[in-house]
Subunit: 206 residues, 2 copies
Amino acid sequence: MGRRATHTADELKDLILVSARDIVVQHGLAGLSARTIARRIGYSPGTLYNVFEHLDDLILHVEARMLDELNANLADVAAQTKGAVGTAPIRALAKAYLAFTAERPRLWNLLFEHHLPVSLAVPDWYRDKLNVLLGHVETALQPAMPHRSREDVRLSARVLWSSIHGISSLATGEKLSVVTQVSTTTMVDDLLSTYLGGLQANQRIA
Amino acid sequence: MGRRATHTADELKDLILVSARDIVVQHGLAGLSARTIARRIGYSPGTLYNVFEHLDDLILHVEARMLDELNANLADVAAQTKGAVGTAPIRALAKAYLAFTAERPRLWNLLFEHHLPVSLAVPDWYRDKLNVLLGHVETALQPAMPHRSREDVRLSARVLWSSIHGISSLATGEKLSVVTQVSTTTMVDDLLSTYLGGLQANQRIA
DNA sequence: ACCTGAACACCGTTCAAGT
DNA sequence: ACCTGAACACCGTTCAAGT
């Protein structure tokens, strides 16, 4: 056996990540294995371990590409609502966010279904991408709470992001759909309207 | 080989569910397998399939016992706050709920980490337990929104439950803890205060 | 009737051996 | 230098064979 040189190192890496992504889009995390990826790209399973440390590392890179794509989307929305006041920016952001996650639910769920073994640390480059995402939420939320501290905005951004994640994750997890007969959109709309209404009301008191 | 009769059918079922629960409490879903359960109880893996249809069925029963325990807890809280007005009941319920989930986080996460294959339907007895849980939330939320329709209460109960799930699931999932440096309690308090404040504010307008 | 344990078709990961 | 494929230690599940 031995070398092939039909693909450069970069091409091979891309080939692996693209086909891993395709498998998740089609069959979810459950359908993904080192062997299914290898079969799809016509290499042996061992080859994956020349490019990635282990399967968790590979999956983290699939997630990274998706986060980059989402962050680019959100940056566009942020640019369009720049300078707007009130709740318009955060509402526009939530809409774009939900559209993105609804488009490929299985791929999006990868973010939450995939758990690192406790022995593995989360890489810094991964944390950075999540922080960029949260930064977009903070920026969009700022005009909705003009008289609040930066800390308050940070907290609200995290509460809203987690809550929206909870809603969409229960909606896509078939087992708990008993809880979510109403659509994700309706629930997120209610959350945003009521939470943002609460921010305004509490502000009036202060 | 052959029969043993050291345990009755019911004893064996209980033995299996208790040790499966213990494994999840200690090592999470990742540590659970038909073989680890079998080793722990001193039976062969095949025996599990005399008692449960498959591993997913077994896991569903572990979740069921946990939901029963939680529902009993929440029923107690409901009894104590019966007749109270305003936001006291829902706040008491949220507190009890969080205390329960914080006590055995890995076991609680089982509810959300475990996904049935698409080919399997969720059993009715499982849906029922989730509906009981949601019923407790609705009952506790009712006094906080006295002038709203039953449908509004249903929606708000689902939004709050999903949101709290999102917060606690991101907190326990190590990969995303970048988002949740603040404690679960702080985030849930903020969610409740702001959302309930929003309910009151919107009500004033109507 | 109940339980075993071998068997089947899978995993992730490693690494000596080949080109 | 790169890739293979066999090997190892695991899976879930089935079922003939035993008591």
